[in-house]
Amino acid sequence: MDNFELICPAGTPAALRAAVDAGADAVYLGFRDETNARNFPGLNFTRQDVADAVDYAHARKVEVYVAINTYPQAGNLGPWQKAVDDAARLKVDAVILADPGLLAYAAKRHPDLRLHLSVQASAANVEAIRLYRDAFGVRRVVLPRVLTVPEIAKLNAEIDVETEVFVFGGLCPMAEGRCSLSSYATGLSPNKQGVCSPATHVRYEQRGGALASTLGGFTINVFGEGEQAGYPTLCKGRFVAGGAPAYLFEEPTSLNAMDLLPELKAAGVHALKIEGRQRGKAYIGAVVRAYREALDSFAAGRPVPHIDLQAMVEGGTQTTGAYTRAWR
């Protein structure tokens, strides 16, 4: 049976090498600016870093994708168009885009450059995916985390575009690419600046024995003595809606779909994506190795080993997220 392609995050050159060495089929990265949706200090690649990455990866038969998946700013299209031009010049294997105007630019200027549709395009149905295929020649779509596995199966039965789904890491409970929660609290957004719950607007406040994490002045969570404090990602906070404080939107949990490999294969999914461009090389190495082993066992018809990634998961808990209907 054809194996899934394993698509792994690279926030830094060191993480990229760790991912490649651990068995990635492809790695994805961003340039060091607001053209990608993980625009955080200390992350991402210069043009030279990308050139080196392509050499390293290609020598080991691994592909490199560049995410240029924020929405170009009106009156300032230059940085995004240049990012596409540079990615093509650096001979990466694909660019991951979301904005229709930028897709049009890429398709016209670089007809040989493979275009993948970012999760940020929020293309969750057959009609939308075909539109991007017909208009721009998109070859693969990263599906937003709003579909159950049966819904993904139905979708794959009707399209010829490859599908890629997230299987591990942080998950958005909201449809990606259409979320202004951070923007409401801070003025900075995933679509405009490539940031979610940006650190520039985070404060921790000691309140007696408790520690509050705040974003843009809004308290996102309060941790008692002995409770491990987490980062105030807005939608993973505790809020009050008519009752006691609760994780209204989503618990600080990690997606882990390792147990769904047979279902995802039956559903026609082409590639599995690990989230984590903000993670260090040790995390990346461990997670990619685990998934490599799982995928190889699965493809060989062997039982998928139960690999304990508990130490790696956010909040110490795991979920299959939107893939199962019960999540809704």
Partner: protein, 303 residues
């Protein structure tokens, strides 16, 4: 100043009688030019409005309002796809000027070949995307709420050159996110499939506060909205100057006729924007906000 007023779709799950009466009053009294109708948040609610929809459209059209139909924001399941396809086909029944407003790229695909509008949950962030939409038949684009003034200006200018109307939301809670998960149900310990339509309990949305008791967000089924109510009455002259030709008033559970009258008066130069803001602010239990436009946190109000 010349600009038209659009009444956006009712986003909340109102009882159908309330919904029908609301539109009757809008038809008779509200100085709005375009009224957008449709259940765009949750397909489970759509059957409640199906029977009254034709009557509401007729009532609005007879009163001289241009009626548009809005397609759902999130389309993933088969039921949602059917709802989207049915809606897009329904515009054949609309009077002159009637269009479908696409709120998801799937609807955009189905609207190829005929004039249509682009709703605020489709990402038009720059002039290249606007041009692409225009080429495909978009005649009006309603901008995402989070865009700052400089971006609105660039898009309004591009829109004028392309012959596309550019619209900005100027009143109402801002839609901030959409999900496959229902947060109304979740807050009540229910699953979306057995939701008991608890979203119907909150005609203005369900308040969400921080653990400090600070009002923060509003839940409306699968949609998350701001707590603050957008109000751009003071910014109207600048927006019109930029070339924005339409302003969207998003219905809240309040006297929307009075809201429309206030906005019309500012646009006509009869009243001052700050004065109208003060009056309308007194009618809603939420702070007025305009931070997005002023390139800062959306929750803020900038003088």
């Amino acid at each position: 100043m010349t600009a038209s007023l659009t009444l956006g779709p009712v986003l909340f799950n109102w009882p159908v009688d309330r919904w029908r009466d609301f539109y009757a009053r809008i038809a008779d009294e509200a100085p709005v030019d375009t009224v957008i109708v449709g259940e765009i948040v949750c397909f489970k609610r759509a059957p409640f409005f199906a029977e009254a929809m034709g009557e509401v459209i007729e009532r609005l059209s007879s009163a001289g309002k241009t009626v548009w139909l809005a397609s759902p924001i999130l389309v993933g399941s088969e039921r949602e796809r059917s709802a989207m396809r049915e809606l897009v086909a329904a515009d054949a029944g609309l009077a002159d000027g009637g269009l479908v407003e696409a709120n998801d790229m799937g609807a955009l695909a189905l609207l190829a070949g005929r004039p249509h509008a682009i709703g605020p949950t489709i990402n038009v962030y720059n002039e290249a995307t606007l041009a692409w939409m225009a080429e495909r038949g978009a005649v009006s684009v309603s901008l995402p709420a989070e865009l700052p003034a400089a971006t609105v200006a660039a898009l309004a200018k591009a829109g004028r050159e392309l012959g596309v109307d550019v619209e900005v939301q100027a009143w109402g809670r801002a839609p901030l996110a959409i999900s496959a998960r229902c947060y109304h149900a979740r807050a009540h310990g229910l699953h979306k499939d057995g939701c008991q339509f608890v979203c119907g309990n909150d005609p203005d949305g369900m308040p969400v506060t921080t653990m400090d008791g600070q009002p923060f967000l509003t839940v409306n089924g699968t949609q998350t909205m701001s707590h603050g109510c957008l109000c751009l009455t003071s910014e109207l002259p600048a927006l019109v100057e930029m070339g924005v030709s339409r302003f969207r008033l998003s219905p809240q559970a309040m006297d929307m006729v009075r809201v429309a009258e206030g906005f019309r008066a500012v646009l006509d130069g009869r009243r001052d924007g700050a004065e109208v803001a003060a009056e309308l602010g007194g009618l809603i239990d939420a702070p007025l906000v305009n931070g997005f436009y002023h390139d800062t946190a959306g929750a803020l109000r900038v003088a």
